[in-house]
């Protein structure tokens, strides 16, 4: 049994690890304006799929003894400026800004980021 360590600063609340885990150990829960990702304290499998797949390298597996309790991270969802729907964790949007900043795509035109993908279709927004 290996210890699973998650960095609450690095995790952005995407679902990649949850989708990757073949045993469905990582659980996503959607509430009204929040989303939670629950990580088990340890993993009895041999693979490193979750660690490999994380975009921000937020997960580590060590040979130490796991903690007793699972870790649940909560993410505030961003509200679409046009329709008010909660559409993405704010952390994910911040991550995207960081990635696009490096490329020069993020300037004042980034206003579209605070719209949900559906509202982005409409030119009036």
């Amino acid at each position: 049994m290996r210890k699973l360590i998650v960095s609450s600063e690095k995790c952005v609340g995407c679902r990649a690890c949850s989708l990757a885990c073949p045993e469905d150990y990582i659980k996503i829960e959607e509430a009204e304006s929040e989303i939670s990702v629950e990580f088990p304290p340890g993993c009895d499998m041999q693979c490193t799929k979750c660690v490999d797949i994380c975009p921000t390298h937020a997960l580590t597996l060590t040979n130490d003894t796991p903690e007793k309790k699972s870790v649940k991270l909560w993410f505030e969802m961003a509200e679409c400026e046009a329709c008010g729907r909660f559409f993405a964790p704010k952390m994910m949007l911040k991550y995207i800004i960081r990635r696009l900043e490096d490329t020069g795509l993020a300037d004042e035109k980034i206003a579209w980021l605070m719209l949900c993908p559906t509202c982005r279709h409409s030119i009036s927004h």
Binding site: A16, D102, T103
Partner: protein, 149 residues
């Protein structure tokens, strides 16, 4: 001369033939959406941007340009993180069942057979055109020079 999906938005009559055809071609999920406002309508699909935010945001480099310079998502490399859906300024990517990205790929499977993307094939008003810029400009010039009498 590379052919692109050109949109003549003024011709869009919001009939949604493109949505129906695209959905039929892609297992029930349309990758094109017709947007309508009070005075105009037009079909929205991946713009295959020359500088594509989705490509930059994908940390696995699962999104790349193909020989036609169209933006294609490699399903095998994709992790289902959903970052590309949020990075697209046009909302052209949809995470289906929250895990698989669905986006116009310029009907790669048809084009490899020498055929035309399905939205361009079916658009009744000619709002979606699959043509190279050069050929399209030539058509426009011909139109311009055979005007009404």
């Amino acid at each position: 001369m590379k052919r692109l999906l050109l949109i003549r938005a003024e011709r869009c009559i919001r009939c949604r033939a493109c949505e129906v055809a695209c959905a039929r071609e892609h297992g029930g999920q349309s990758r094109i959406t017709v947007v309508e406002t009070e005075c105009i309508a037009w079909p929205v699909s991946c713009r295959h941007c020359k500088v594509a935010p989705c490509i930059h945001v994908c940390y696995r480099e699962a999104i790349r340009y193909d020989e036609r310079d169209m933006v294609i998502i490699d399903e095998n490399l994709c992790t289902g993180c959903g970052l590309c859906e949020l990075a697209c300024p046009f909302g052209a990517i949809t995470m289906v069942e929250k895990q698989k990205p669905s986006k116009c790929d310029g009907c790669q499977h048809l084009v490899l057979d020498g055929k035309t993307p399905i939205c361009a094939l079916t658009c009744p008003s000619g709002a979606i055109v699959y043509e190279s810029i050069e050929a399209y400009e030539k058509q426009t010039r011909i139109s311009f020079f055979s005007p009404v009498r």
